[in-house]
């Protein structure tokens, strides 16, 4: 372990380490940031959901979007895999189907950044217990 010899040192270290706790810090108030859930059941993974998930994880951070990316199970839209659910703060969640990397890029640039809808929206037909509260 290298010594921390100045306050600037400590501050630098804090910035480096902060991302390690990102997931937890963001989770304190997830409704205030973008939440992306990637359906990662067998069907999703078979259709390339893992690549999509990694893309979101990487690109959201690179593009400075405060977001939480989680995996979730099969949403039931197996015909449209890979599917993702995006919830913007203060808005209802929206599900997108047939998300490849190109569409993923569109979702980030348009829907997430500006709120402009893009193709591939699937109407919601269920509620989670979270919403019941």
């Amino acid at each position: 372990m290298s010594k921390i010899t100045s306050l600037a040192d400590l501050k630098k270290k804090r910035e480096e380490l902060k991302s390690g706790l990102d997931i937890r810090i963001k989770a304190i108030n997830p409704e205030t940031i973008v939440q992306v859930k990637v359906a990662m059941a067998t069907c999703g993974i078979a259709s390339g959901a893992k690549t999509v998930m990694e893309f979101f994880l990487e690109q959201l951070e690179r593009r400075n979007v405060a977001a939480v990316v989680t995996q979730t199970g099969c949403m039931g839209y197996c015909y449209a895999e890979p599917t993702i659910e995006v919830k913007l703060p203060g808005k209802d969640p929206v599900v997108f189907g047939f998300v490849d990397l190109k569409r993923a890029d569109q979702i980030i640039e348009k829907y997430i950044k500006t709120g402009e809808l893009v193709d591939g929206i699937i109407p919601m037909n269920y509620q989670t217990i979270d919403l019941k509260e």
Binding site: T5, L7, L10, A41, Q71
Partner: protein
Amino acid sequence: MSKYSMHLLVCGGTGCHASESDAIVCNLRDELEAKGLMDSVQVILTGCFGFCEKGPIVKVMPDNTFYVQVKPEDAQEIVDEHIIKGRKVTRLLYRDPVTREPVSDSKHMGFFKKQLRIVLRNCGFINPENIDEYIARDGYQALGKVLTEMTPEEVIKVVKDSGQRGRGGAGFSTGLKWELARNNKSDEKYVVCNADEGDPGAFMDRSVLEGDPHSVLEAMAICGYSIGASNGLIYIRAEYPLAIERLKIAIKQAQEYGLLGKDIFGTGFNFDIKLRYGAGAFVCGEETALIHSMEGLRGEPTVKPPFPAEAGYLNKPTNVNNVETFAAIPVIILKGAKWFSSIGTEKSKGTKVFALAGKINNVGLIEVPMGTTLREVIFEIGGGIRNGKKFKGIQTGGPSGGCLSEKHLDTPIDFDNLIAAGSIMGSGAMIVLDEDDCMVSMAKFFLEFTVEESCGKCAPCRIGNKRLHELLGQICEGKGSLDDLDRLRNMSVVIKDTALCGLGQTSPNPVLSMMDNYYDEYVAHVTDKKCPAGQCKSLLEYVVNAENCVGCTACARVCPVNAISGERKEVHLIDPSICIKCGACIEKCKFDAIFIR
């Protein structure tokens, strides 16, 4: 960026630890390994979440799912269902005690809703054995700020202005205490952290040390800078092995980073911390006794003055603060005195950690702003009285505190209000009593502790408490008189007035407050020879209800002392002079014909 997309926080506090949280961690890791998820899901053992009633607790981040009473064998389901399939394991979710609906996010639980976690900010959030996580949470920034931007006087001013009062019990101004220690000139001074938490049912200090040890180390260094000390000592009871272990790790890590030791942040300031172990004597929480114990002497108090700020450890100026007091200091420095003093009541600022215990639904550790009412604590955070029973009283401040009744429920909790109501803040233990608790027996119960823990140095505490305990015993046995109640009060008042240290000066509090608030119950014991709560065995009478008795003789046959007489098919009779109140007859009677009065 972090490679993990998900964190599993597993509570590693002593309570959950005892309920196999270690095995949960192992099983979770095994499952993740088997499913090839080790690279994307991190399992972290944290400090106490506070909700010990429902432990062990596993929290899934980032979706903030709070699983309660998790068993090691649940690991597979959590991984398979929640992590792989994204479906919450409903049966492990907390259920609202009223609606019985599952609640997944702890924010929406009554237990957490009213809490404001300053001292416990990192407990249940970070891995206490990893200094990096503390640093990521602004750890040691306050120390850096203090050393590079502030004079010791400025630091003391911030602490004074924050209005923080010592969390150890007496509520003395922290800033003032530091100032006194600073003003005493000496070649060597000491900063002592009092981690000799001894109240039964109190575990806030332990939880802080287990969950966020660095916050205390950082604060001690800040205090050292302020008063001019370069040595810190933590007096911790040897019965806290987990806290000791985590402290050792924390000290080592801080030393390796140079955050403790010589020339911290290149400012020339030296500060290091050593551990001292207590043998578990309650009286060693009293600061002079604590200091004597650290010096290798008998752990007993001496008269103040001289205060430790003048002549403490090895006769050098010494500042002793409690764990909880220290833990809030870094936040006070970073967020400022104004911010801290905006929380709480006029004379008691900030938050206070309480340990909830007794006949309450949500047993655990909570942190609320000063000024929260007892009602909010008991009925909202605490989830009300267990088994739907009626609230009777709450013992605050542990065995040295007082018992407050229904009429105090809407009193905002702070140092002064509790004293005015006849109790004390103490370290923050709260024991809830219900309708089944006898207030004479309870007073006796609490005294038993102080009798046991008295050091024996001064006569009022050594002998007086014993006599109080004996007299309460007499009253419980129906051998008391109204004169005895006067004597009880007089002895209590004199012990409070004459005892040497805080232990003796507060030990009669349960007796006095219970006599104040439940005097009728005391009178019932001595005049009617009855225990209204039905707890004092000697005062109970087993009686046959003639209306229900069919004369089956079952009771008479089961009675071990032949106290029951009566012909077959005729109403039976229990001779109270023979009856030993074993209860066998009640159990045997099929007709509800025997009752206690």
